[in-house]
Each structure stands twice: as C-alpha cells, then as structure tokens.
Amino acid sequence: MTDAPAGAWTTGTLAEVKRSDRLVRLRFEVADRVDHLPGQHYVLRLRAPDDYTAQRSYSAASDPDDPLLELMVECLPDGEVSGFMHDEARVGDVFELRGPIGGWFTWSGEVPAVAVAGGSGVVPIVAMMRYARRLGLEHLLRVVAVARTLDALPYADELREYGALVALTRENLNGRVAAPPYPEEVAPLVEGTERAYVCGSVGFASYAQRLLGESGMRADAIRVEQFGASG
C-alpha cells in the first residue's frame, strides 16, 4: 500500500461558488492544506450553534497542485449537507474540513489505467485527469464518463476536451445515439491497462464491473468507489 497523505480537522474558507440546477462547485482555501493524491476525499462538517453537526465525504476534484481545494457536490433530495451547500453557502463562509482521506482509490500515474465513472462519480476521476494533463500522462489514463444527459454530467466540457469517451444514455451526442457504453467502445480503452477505477452509484458500479469484465479486465484489478442507497 502507498503511504497516502492524511490530514486532521482544519478549516476551509469558501473562495468560489458556482451553482447549477443540481450541482454546486465549491473552491476552498484550506488552512494548512496537505497535498492529496488524485482520488482522495475530504470530509466536510457543518456545525449548528448548539454544536449539532452533520458531515459527509466528498472527493477532491482539484489537482493536488491547485492552491484551492475543489469539491463538486450533487444536491440530493432532502440532503442535509448537500442541500445546505447548494442553497446557502456563500463566499467567505468558513467550514470544517478533514483530509485528505483514503489510500485505495488513488492514481498518480503508477500504472496505465482506465476509469469508468457515472454521474457525480466522475469527480475523483477529474482530479486524476487534471493531474495526468499537467504531467503529460494522458496516455496512461483513459476515461469513460456516463450520464443521462450532458447537463447531468459534471465537468462535461473538460472530460470531452480530455478525450474521454462520453456515453449519454438519454441524449444523442455528436452522432452517438443515446445508449450506455457498448463493449465495442470500451474494449479498446481497456486494452493495455493494468487497473480500472469505477466510481458511481451502487447500480452503476455493478454495471461498470460487468462491462470491464467483458473487456478482459481482471476482477482483482478493479478498484471501486460506490455511494448511495441500494434500495
């Protein structure tokens, strides 16, 4: 196992906020920030005046080289933390943050890899992608991003610019008819890689693992980060 960096509780000042319908992109200036590995996450904690707290984990979208920490939060129905960050958070607000955390779902160019991510699952992959771009390692990281529509895909423009395979399941895109990724589309991206990163909801992760298996990826070479209820 790599000796992944880890950080204690600290504070982050919200420096930039960008909201869309269901997403909010947050950029924090973090006190005593510890450089993370692409793929690691932070815990964000809210505190009410009577010391009631609510905390959730969010993957870092930023390249470790970025002076600010970037998180992309999907606003969930009734989401206690995501709802607050989407509706209330303002530039200048101070938040409790802890991180980076996690030593498993990380990539820093050590092996040729393919990432298959769905919806907000693209966030940790974006950090890996930005890292790869900065160091000229794009040939070592292939990306498949899946979402219902382009609007529902965080970082869509950046992913397309990178050359990711973007598969929209409810919308046509540049001549590609709406559909989940085909094995024929994915197999060439899997070829030559030694590891896969899968990130998304439980249902998506299960689908992505099958897809990768069909393309010849060994099960023990697949790293998974999945979230959400399974019903």
């Binding site: 905390q55 984990s57 209330e88 498993w104």
Partner: protein, 206 residues
C-alpha cells in the same frame, strides 16, 4: 471549531426518532441501506465456500455451507453504523454467533486480535474481545431473507457495535493473532478499532 453561518440542522426533527441511539456525527438512513465496497462484487458459490477459524487456536476448524447452518443459530436485532455517517436502526440479521465458532476452535491464551478475511482478499482487524461475548456473528440472512450480494451475500461478518467496515462482507476466514495488524481500510487511513460512540473513524483518532 467555528459555527457554520446559517446552519441549524433543520432536518434534526427526524433525528429525534432515535436520538439516544444515534452516535455522534451520524444520520438516520431510514429505510435506505447504502452499500459501499472497495473491490469488485464477487459471486460466491455456497457449494465451494468454507468458513475457516485458524491462527492462534488449539484446533483450526473449517465449516462448509451445510455444516455452518447445522450449528446453533443466533439472531441480532439492532442498529448498525457506517463510518460514512449513515446509521440504520432495527435491523435483523441471522446466522451463527462467532462465540459458537470459537468454542470449537479454542483460542490459545495469547490470542488477542482477529483478522477477518473475505473471499475477495479484503481484510479487517479487530480486538478479539470485540468479537466475543455475544458481540459478533457470521450471518447469511437479513430481515428474514437471504443476504443480498451487494451487502455481502451469501455470508458476511457482523460486528454491529463497531463501524460497519469491520463487518467484512463475503467473509471466509477468522485468523486469531497475538499482535494487531492493520487490515485493508486500516492501512488506507481508517481506525484500528472503530467504535462509533467514540468516533474512532480514522487513523489518529483517539
């Protein structure tokens, strides 16, 4: 630590349902049961699966699916808590108590820790006293139905008084040790013991 401007926790009224049963920093997942995994979900064939208890024991033991079902059964009814902050109340799991397995294997006096191994290679370490005295099970049923594969089916370890990553899914072996050794998540930043009431989430937490 600073109070978050404008945050009052307005969903807190929902929490009142089990306020005294909710560890610090957790929320009630209600009827949801989130599933998180690090590795690809395996398909475990019960005809091939075995449960092994070995390491520092007098008699290493192995049970197959039929044999483990023939042991005296045991049910847990209560709450479970995940380090990612969801808690789920009033769950029911059925299987066999780890005490029953250990009785047959007979831990040696110097055994003080356990490494739980899953079929996938996933591991998690625990103090031996945290899996004895009626505090741990190997389970194959949830709410009266076969344990779903995404939640560790057909069989997982259940140690509900600790964060749920200690309840290794797809468990296949309990290895008794004299010295503690970090398992998978423990090597990747998480706590060696994981008591939700003491918020022992990450390495470095007291």
């Amino acid at each position: 630590m600073p109070v978050t401007r404008g945050f009052t926790g307005k969903r807190r009224a929902d929490r009142a349902r089990h306020a005294d049963r909710l560890p610090p920093g957790q929320y009630d997942a209600g009827t949801d049961w989130p599933a998180l995994t690090a590795e690809a979900t395996p398909r475990v064939d019960t005809a091939q699966w075995t449960m092994v208890v070995d390491g520092l024991v007098r008699t290493p033991r192995t049970w197959d699916w039929r044999e483990i079902h023939a042991l005296e059964g045991s049910t847990y009814h209560g709450d479970i808590h995940c380090v990612t902050t969801w808690s789920k109340f009033d769950t029911t799991f059925t299987g066999v108590s780890v005490d029953t397995l250990l009785e047959q294997a007979e831990p040696l006096p110097e055994a003080a820790y356990v490494m739980a191994h899953a079929t996938t290679g996933y591991t998690t370490n625990l103090p031996l006293e945290d899996v004895t005295g009626g505090r741990a099970w190997v389970v194959w049923e949830f709410d009266g139905r076969p344990l779903p594969v995404d939640h560790g089916g057909p069989v997982r370890l259940l140690v509900p008084h600790l964060y749920f990553w200690k309840s290794a899914k797809w468990v296949t072996r309990l290895e008794l040790m004299d010295r503690d050794r970090p398992g998978f998540w423990e090597q990747n930043g998480y706590h060696d013991r994981g008591d939700p009431w003491l918020e022992q989430r990450y390495q470095g937490d007291p």
